[in-house]
């Protein structure tokens, strides 16, 4: 840990020193040990690298770095080796000695660890050429590969905190707010409110005590963009926060992290400690006379606490219930003081805007929707992971170019954007540019950047039911439309899925949806109908099939389907007989088709999934 930095000149000096140290001609290995790579076994891989390097005593030849998320979660554990920008994926501990022998010490590339893109019919050596990365613009996530998130020196070495020095010494608070306004940055938490305008209102609000808050309560199922940033590069969020505090005139910040993000919590805690020790937090930051402190608060597991007023109530130690925002939080927020709350990703963009200028930022993306956005690409795509693209990129490009298309050559059906209360967007809208306004127009939303891809095997009524079940559980229960309305909608959807739908249900669902949009207290209630309204609008046929024909076309809703053996295709291998948990399938002898007893079948789908001959049918 370097000594305390007391001036921007000292920071500059340290930066040059660390930069020189980094430019040492050693081979650099960055292994992802992020939240998604860990279950794939990145921890043992990291240990293997450490012990192998130690065993051989090659510290003078290798710079080994454990990093946060690289993004390509599907292929974890992943690593990047420089020079050469070599991208290895699906690394096992057994591969490590060979990586050291061949790649690190002898410049040889191991073909079997390279990513094989079906599109190019061959192995791709460089990370920058892998389809998943090639089409992205990783101005935020790109740094994750370059730094150890628990080492502030790494961040400083790549120019970290120079934006803070610039802000504190070369810019007035008004100039900073102007820059953020000119950049066109809109809130990454989902609503897309212009960040500069929010800061300005908070700055202008009367009162000498003001708060700045980082919203890291990312509770959407399938979304982990904030996690990726906070775990992989906590200092960029912290730097943005300090700059914002200075611009707004706040001396106390809060970072509200959901407790289900242990790694993010650990890394941001370390980052704050290091920043404080080095003089980037606390009193007289960098000798500027500006004082700022920050506290971490852990969320208690309520989805609704991602809503700004509920989050502030929770920070105050009260139950996480939203309140009406007729008086804005920038005027009366946390403890009734002017408070500026922004999402993790919003804060992370600030240093980039200060360093590179608002024009640079505004040149990325499209007019009115500038910069990049991180999406958590999950579901039935080949390449799942965190992707960062300029706003305005087409959905098709994200799903097919970056995501590599649909798994198992199935047919794309829909993509759900914006978390549980986003909408499902159908194939005919795939050329929609992804930005705040277009997603809203299509009945969905940006949300926190979740993107769940669904294929022909997903039943859209069941999908709507799934999200409504989630929202029913997560409604805070304060206001009647949300508490009672979501419950009734979920019950109706349940009935439809179970074959008890009535033709009047669709109108009733629509009526309830409009009611929730009009009358709910907060955005959880008013956006909850989105999954229902969009599936009704784009997949009405599926609703009708369930309600009128009592059929589930995708073969998902158990009460509406029946499994059967296609005799001509069944070779009588008996694989399904062995795996059927209820003994409903009977072996009839070799080369004779098996027989399925409907009365014993619990429709668990195991036989369908295991049969390689396609001899199990669903109707």
């Amino acid at each position: 840990m370097p000594r305390k930095i007391r001036s921007p000149e000292e920071l500059k000096k340290l930066q040059i020193e660390l930069g020189r140290k980094a430019n040492n001609g050693k081979v650099k290995i960055s292994v992802c040990n992020g939240t998604a790579c860990r279950p794939y076994g990145s921890n043992p891989v990291v240990q293997a690298f450490k012990s192998e390097i130690e065993k051989r005593g090659i510290f003078d030849k290798v710079d080994f770095r454990i990093t946060g998320c690289h993004g390509f979660c599907e292929r974890g554990p992943v690593a990047v080796i420089e020079p050469g920008n070599i991208f290895y994926q699906k690394i096992r501990t057994e591969d490590v000695p060979e990586i050291i022998d061949k790649t690190v010490l002898n410049n040889q590339v191991l073909d079997r660890l390279l990513f094989k893109d079906p599109e190019y019919k061959g192995a791709i050596e460089k990370l920058s050429e892998v389809g998943f990365y090639k089409h992205q613009n990783r101005i935020l996530l790109g740094n994750n590969i370059k730094i150890d998130p628990t080492n502030i020196e790494d961040y400083i070495a790549i120019g970290g905190y120079s934006a803070l020095a610039k802000a504190l010494f070369d810019l007035s608070p008004e100039q900073i707010i102007d820059m953020v306004k000119q950049s066109g940055l809109r809130g990454r938490g989902g609503a897309g409110f212009p960040t500069g305008a929010k800061w300005e209102s908070c700055k202008k609000a009367p009162g000498d005590i003001k708060y700045v808050i980082v919203n890291a309560d990312e509770g959407d199922p399938g979304a982990y963009a904030n996690e990726g940033l906070l775990t992989g590069n906590p200092h960029c969020v912290l730097e943005g926060l300090i700059i914002g505090a200075y611009a707004i005139g706040s001396h106390q910040g809060y970072i509200y992290v959901r407790n289900e993000y242990p790694l993010a919590l650990k890394h941001i805690t370390v980052a704050i400690d290091e920043a404080r020790k080095i003089g980037l937090l606390g009193d007289n930051i960098l000798g500027s006379g500006f004082n700022f402190n920050v506290r971490i608060n852990r969320g208690g597991g309520a989805f609704v606490c991602g809503e700004s007023t509920a989050l502030m109530a929770s920070l105050e130690g009260k139950p996480g219930e939203p309140r009406a925002k007729y008086i804005h939080t920038v005027e009366r927020g946390l403890w009734d003081r002017p408070s500026d709350l922004n999402n993790v990703e919003t804060w992370a963009n600030i240093p980039l805007i200060i360093n590179n200028g608002p024009e640079w930022f505004a040149s990325i993306g499209t007019k009115g929707n500038t910069g990049t956005k991180i999406f958590s690409l999950t579901g039935k795509v080949n390449n799942t992971g965190l992707v960062e693209v300029p706003l305005g990129m087409k959905l098709r490009d994200i799903i097919f170019n970056i995501g590599g298309g649909i798994r198992n050559n199935k047919k794309f059906k829909a993509v759900q954007t914006g978390g549980p209360s986003g909408g499902c967007i159908p194939e005919r809208l795939l050329d929609l540019p992804v930005n705040f306004d277009e997603l809203t127009k299509a009945g969905s939303m940006m949300g926190s950047g979740g993107m769940i891809v669904m294929d022909e095997d997903n039943c859209m009524v069941d999908v709507a039911r799934y999200f409504l079940t989630f929202l029913e559980e997560e409604s805070c229960g304060k206001c009647v439309p949300c508490r009672e309305g979501i419950r009734r909608m979920r019950q109706i959807l349940n009935d439809i899925c179970e074959g008890n739908g009535q033709e009047s249900d669709i109108d009733l669902l629509k009526e309830l949806s409009n009611h929730l949009k009009d009358s709910s207290l907060c955005a959880l209630g008013s956006s909850a109908p989105n999954p229902v309204l969009t599936t009704i609008e784009y997949f009405l046929d599926e609703y009708k099939a369930h309600i009128i024909d009592k059929k589930c076309p995708a073969g998902v809703c158990k009460q509406l389907i029946r499994f059967f053996i296609i005799d001509e295709k069944c070779p009588g291998c008996g694989l399904c007989v062995k795996t059927c948990p209820t003994g409903a399938i009977k072996f009839m002898g070799k080369k004779k088709p098996v027989v399925l007893d409907q009365s014993k079948c619990i429709k668990c789908r195991t036989c369908y999934d295991i049969c390689k001959m396609g001899a199990v049918g669903i109707e």
């Binding site: 409604s475 229960g477 206001c479 009647v480 309305g485 419950r487 009734r488 709910s520």
Partner: protein, 242 residues
């Protein structure tokens, strides 16, 4: 002297104090807006949503909660548009489904010609509580003991004592009972004992030293004596004998 603002409610212009809510303004002007979770003595909460009104602002109208929205210069408010009534009817349908046998809810729904909710009968429930939180708010803001709070979330949310046990801090004043808009709180004074069944508590009632009639929980009277530093014998007589 507080600032005066001009507002229009249902096409009629009024002058009201700045900062009061639309609901307070409407009440002063004799315009009726239905509510369940509002009580003038208690901070507004915005849970029942029945007091929604339509606000004309710029080119688009929006629905706001009148118990929370502070009046400001030039507000154009409509309290009974088609959109307001449609939403209010749905609110009452939802409440009636939750409280299908509650007299207050049934009567209010009937005022809006809702005899039966548009949902399948198997969804109907027989609750009395609408989770408006008035009992909890009265206990906290008026009485100052916070013997109960709203626990759980979503459909399981309910007013309850800590850990769903006996409400240890309760003084038996019955404010929760009196303030409840749907008679969901069961309280009974019998044989010199007050019981509040919802909070699993019972209190001995103090007998008037003159007429001998039990008239208030001892715990409540002691709480008042202590809080206001009154003489110990001040409540020896009941209000009738005083």
């Amino acid at each position: 002297m507080s600032e005066i603002v001009n507002i229009i409610i249902n096409n009629v212009s009024f002058q009201v104090e700045k900062g009061i809510t639309i609901l307070q303004a409407a009440r002063k002007l004799g315009i009726k807006i239905p509510t369940l979770c509002d009580n003038e003595a208690i901070e507004p909460y915005g849970a029942c949503r029945l007091c929604i009104v339509e606000l004309e602002k710029g080119s688009r109208n929006r629905i706001v909660t009148s118990c929370l929205y502070p009046v400001e210069e030039g507000l154009i408010i409509k309290t009974d548009t088609e959109r307001v009534i449609r939403n209010r009817k749905m609110l009452l349908s939802l409440l009636l489904t939750r409280c299908s046998e509650n007299r207050v809810i049934k009567d209010l729904a009937a005022e809006y010609s809702i005899e039966r909710p548009p949902f399948r009968e198997k969804y109907w429930e027989k609750n009395d509580c609408i989770v408006c939180g008035l009992c909890v708010r009265a206990c906290e803001q008026i009485v100052g003991v916070s013997a109960i709070s709203l626990v759980n979330r979503g459909i399981s949310k309910e007013p309850a004592p800590p850990f769903l046990e006996k409400a240890k801090a309760c003084i038996g004043c019955g404010s929760c009972y009196y303030v409840c808009p749907t008679n969901a709180i069961k309280m009974e004074d019998r044989n010199g004992i007050r019981r509040i069944y919802n909070w699993k508590v019972e209190f001995k009632l103090k007998r008037c030293s003159k007429c001998g009639i039990p008239w208030a929980p001892e715990a409540q009277l002691n709480y008042i004596i202590k809080k206001w530093d009154l003489p110990d014998n001040i409540f020896d007589l009941c209000p009738n004998c005083r």
